[in-house]
């Protein structure tokens, strides 16, 4: 990329902490609209969501494996959204990253953008002593392990789901740090017979979500050639 030789550009990071999915979805849509008309610059949101299942444009409730009544009982929300992909889970113990980025202004293609999000997660996982990789044809980040019975198993540790309108991105990547595995078992993610894995199942001691977020921001800056700077909600709303 010819742009990577330029000096790092400053990109704002808005840390939302723990927040409900719907509230952050509305915030993303507002920020996306403001970015699209040039009222704000590119920025990155990080958040830890309350439990929720979201279904992407090509997804289906058929891949939800439990009764909706059970979701009600457990206080898990479910909604259809605009991002690409099928059903996925967000919840406590998961780092969610939403770049709101004008791809064209940065000379980035869709594939390049997704590749760089994956690359960031792979480097963060290496920082956590986890060997993770891409799986051709299956966007996301995966961990291959040899089970006790010698069978090979590939589990998903980070998911991708992006929306690009007016060449501006929203939605993004979710990295499982210490996620409730029972919640994940309620879906057939991406409509594939895929199981999810968290950092917490692979290393000990388990890094906190704050530590992983810090590493993610460092690697994100490195991979995209940005200098990330903390911003407040008032700066962009």
């Amino acid at each position: 990329m010819e742009r990577s030789s330029r000096r790092p550009s400053v990109v704002g990071h808005l840390a939302l902490g723990r927040a409900g999915y719907r509230e952050v979805l509305e915030l993303q849509r507002r920020l996306h609209a403001r970015r699209r008309v040039g009222k704000i610059d590119d920025l990155v949101l990080t958040v830890e969501h309350d439990p929720v299942f979201t279904i992407g444009r090509t997804g289906s409730r058929e891949h939800l494996l439990v009764d909706p009544e059970r979701l009600d009982r457990e206080g898990i929300d479910i909604l259809d959204i605009e991002r690409g992909g099928d059903i996925t889970y967000h919840g406590p113990g998961q780092l969610v990253v939403y770049p709101i980025l004008d791809l064209r202004a940065r000379g980035l293609g869709v594939k390049d953008f997704v590749d760089r999000l994956e690359e960031t997660a792979i480097r963060v996982l290496a920082d956590c002593n986890i060997d993770a990789a891409r799986r051709p044809g299956y966007p996301g980040v995966w961990v291959a392990e040899t089970r006790a019975d010698d069978a090979r198993e590939t589990r998903k540790i980070a998911s991708i789901g992006v929306y690009v309108k007016g060449w501006v991105t929203m939605h993004g990547l979710a990295l499982n740090v210490a996620v409730n595995a029972e919640h994940f078992a309620m879906i057939n993610p991406c409509g594939l017979p895929v199981t999810a894995v968290s950092v917490a199942e692979l290393v000990n001691p388990v890094p906190s979500l704050d530590v992983v977020r810090g590493r993610f921001l460092v690697r994100l800056g490195e991979v995209f050639g940005w200098e990330l700077r903390e911003i407040a909600r008032e700066d962009v709303e």
Binding site: G84, V114, I160, G166
Partner: protein, 90 residues
């Protein structure tokens, strides 16, 4: 109703092609956000396509009226493929 003719509308300027998304070979059509006959301005959101777990909204390459839809929901479109056409409004 979509028995569209393939002759050029408004020259190549009016042809709606899949934009260059980087190293993307093909996409799947999620659905059109506009109907034939709708007035469109350059940059308006025309249709959604999906690739690489990404929904991409194809912008109108020019203004006018949506004259032709070549690809239906679920169709696969290769890099640079034609999606439809926009004709100028008088």
């Amino acid at each position: 109703m979509h028995g569209s003719t393939r002759e050029t509308v408004n020259g190549d300027r009016g042809t709606i092609r899949l934009p260059d998304l980087g190293e993307v070979e093909s996409v799947r059509v999620v659905g059109w956000l506009m109907s034939i006959g709708d007035a469109v301005a350059e940059g308006d959101d025309l249709l959604e396509v999906e690739t690489e777990k990404t929904t991409f909204v194809v912008p109108a390459p020019t203004g006018g009226r949506l004259a032709r839809i070549d690809v239906a929901e679920g169709a696969t479109v290769d890099r640079g493929g034609t999606l439809g056409a926009i004709e100028p409004t008088a």
